[in-house]
Symmetry: C2
Subunit: 406 residues, 2 copies
């Protein structure tokens, strides 16, 4: 008899029929004597509808009211999910984020969880009820409604699992699990049985769309093992948990690809440490994050700087850097075009020399070169030509033997 938190995303509860399907899955676990907390998102599409209405009324809707508006989505789903459970004989009760005691700061539309009281979840579980909790939302200490921003429902699930010390947290989504590479690019990509928090985190920040980094970070911090699995079939998914590195034998776990990167070039910059620092200070203060930086010496004692940034942040970065350059008295900023970021991730990388060599050999075999490279203990990323990205991913996947791994 386990204590399980399950999370179902917007697609999984998108229609009345799918909500019924979720209820059936919950019943299956409940019938085996498990105690269940079910975290649900808003029906897919609802958030867009609400945002469209808000935008029709205001160019820049106030974030506090945006949260009052958006919180509506999950509140609808919790009630409907409980009704679906009742209809098949499963006792259940709903809880909004506020009722579940998910206390956040007051940064509306992107609030951070500061505390989880859990409300009366454990009491209700003890009564034999399934507790259905609204994901994505919380409330401040003064009772203002807040939302958690992107990936918020996953975060709710993991945070609730941590607070009630659940045995397992299952993230039901529209993919089967975490793959060695995107199966749409690499046909023989394999679903991993398990993966470490660190690897999952690097994959999340490297373009894998499965989960947002913040949820994985939270799970790692509170050591909440979770499973990513499909709500549309019964296959086991991928277990994300703490893994002892010495037990690992494979060098890398997977290949990730992020297409939404732009290469930014800053030329004719004064070649002084304070100039480079000023640029990255200002970018950081604007909440933008850059990746894969290189610095070259240019002509006449000037320096050139190249780095990558997500494409949707480029316009703001250009503006911020433009202002910095004006203060510095010299330099030009421009986009050097879109790039794709290919990353290999694996906790075994540290103990396996030659990983970088194998990577570049694989890239060379398909005629791909890279100027921008960045490495961490368990990741190497390279910026490559987007037109050759799929081919590169396939070559790297094969070179590291990911097709065949046990």
């Amino acid at each position: 008899m386990a204590l399980i938190v399950q999370k179902y995303g917007g697609t999984s509860v998108g229609t009345v029929d799918r909500i019924r399907n979720v209820a059936a899955k919950v019943k299956e676990q409940w019938s085996q004597g498990n105690r269940l907390v079910v975290v649900v998102s808003a029906r897919s599409g609802v958030t867009n509808e609400l945002v469209a209405r808000a935008k029709a009324l205001s160019n820049l809707p106030e974030e506090r009211e945006m949260d009052v508006l958006l919180a509506v989505g999950e509140q609808e789903t919790i009630a409907l999910t409980v009704m679906a459970l009742h209809a098949i004989g499963v006792p259940a009760v709903s809880r909004t984020g506020a009722q579940a005691g998910i206390i956040t700061d007051d940064k509306h539309t992107r609030a951070r969880i500061v505390r989880i009281t859990g409300g009366d979840i454990l009491e209700r579980l003890d009564e034999g009820k399934v507790v259905v909790v609204a994901g994505f939302q919380g409330a401040t200490d003064t009772g203002e409604l807040t939302t958690l921003g992107r990936g918020g429902s996953d975060l709710t699930a993991i945070a609730v699992a941590a607070s009630i010390k659940a045995d397992m947290c299952q993230i039901y989504t529209d993919v089967d699990g975490v793959y060695t590479a995107d199966p749409r690019i690499v046909l023989n990509a394999r679903k991993m049985e398990e993966i470490s928090y660190e690897e999952m985190l690097e994959l999340a920040s490297s373009g894998s769309k499965v989960m947002q980094s913040r949820s994985v970070e939270f799970a790692q911090k509170y050591n909440v093992p979770f499973e990513v699995r499909s709500s549309f079939n019964d296959k086991p998914g991928t277990l994300v948990k703490a893994i002892d590195k010495t037990l690992e034998d494979a060098a890398i776990a997977g290949v990730a690809l992020d297409r939404s990167q732009t290469r930014v070039t800053v030329t004719d910059l004064p070649d002084r440490p304070d100039a480079i620092a000023a640029i990255f200070d200002d970018i950081g203060e604007a909440g933008l994050s850059v990746d894969m930086i290189i610095k070259n010496l240019g002509k006449d004692g000037k320096a050139n700087l190249t780095f990558s940034i997500t494409t949707d942040q480029f316009a703001r970065a250009e503006k911020v850097i433009g202002a910095t350059l004006k203060k510095l008295g010299s330099g030009t900023v421009r986009s050097a075009g879109e790039v794709a970021k290919l990353s290999i991730v694996g906790v075994g990388m540290i103990s396996h020399p030659g990983v970088a060599g194998l990577l570049f050999k694989a890239l060379a075999s398909v005629g791909v070169n890279s100027e921008l490279i960045t490495t961490s203990e368990i990741k190497i990323s390279v910026a490559i030509d987007p037109a050759k990205a799929d081919e590169a991913v396939r070559a790297v996947h094969t070179s590291f033997g990911l097709d065949k791994k046990a």
Copy 2:
């Protein structure tokens, strides 16, 4: 500088454009230096959509979850209304029923307000903000979401007005005010400038669709004057307030018609007081209310009972009475067909003898007869043939000189 509560119903906030229109009306009052609390309903149609989804999942959705679901409607409207106010430069903040401190009992889907703390409404007003409150909803002392049932948003407005001691409560709706008769039936029906709580109450319970009795009762109990007016034009509406009867000169204020009545006949009942009592006890316990009762002696020392009930309650009444008759050992219950209930209402009635006589003369002039009659201090109701109801209303309206009243 007045403290005003305004309430806008579902039709008035039915679309983004209409919400913008509401915001403009609010701004008009706010610009004149008034302090405003705005109570809004769910967009018309939303409640039906939500109920349809609930019914698709469960034949009998639990009422607690129904409230969690339905509360979504007004929560959306408060956020959108605040956004519309911001867009035209009016500072505003939203409050759900729970946030506004509308504390109810736990009778889900038909909760009664037990207390209003008002939350921080007065503080926010003091900051110069318009406070937009979700109508129709509240919360129990333990934080469970509740809804107030039919007419709930009007009730919220009047209750908030009472709790903050507002100078005026304006109920914006899709009619211009309270008329001497339904203008669709009586072409020269007049809009009344003012009407007493008592008259409004009798009209509400006599088929006038303008407001539910419970809101009027609440207003009367706490002496909250309110104005019923249209959200689609700027004409003054009808003021409902305490009116000193001695100042009244007209015998009656208006004519109301309720078509949704069924006449119920119980025959062969033991003619004993306890038998009659048993029937009305059981009906009352089932939450059904009857009207216009008459008792006749039948054959063999048996009694016959005839009364009217709203048509949608007939099936339940038939069942309840059937059970009572079984206990009593004799009697049959059946519908004697639909009837229309025509009522004349007026606080001046007491001091004007001959009102009943004039009513029956007017009815006779169009060949209408009535078997069932009921009277109160300020109302006379008669059950008449539905086919002749419109004609009867017109005749009565003219007979009492309502067309011409100042």
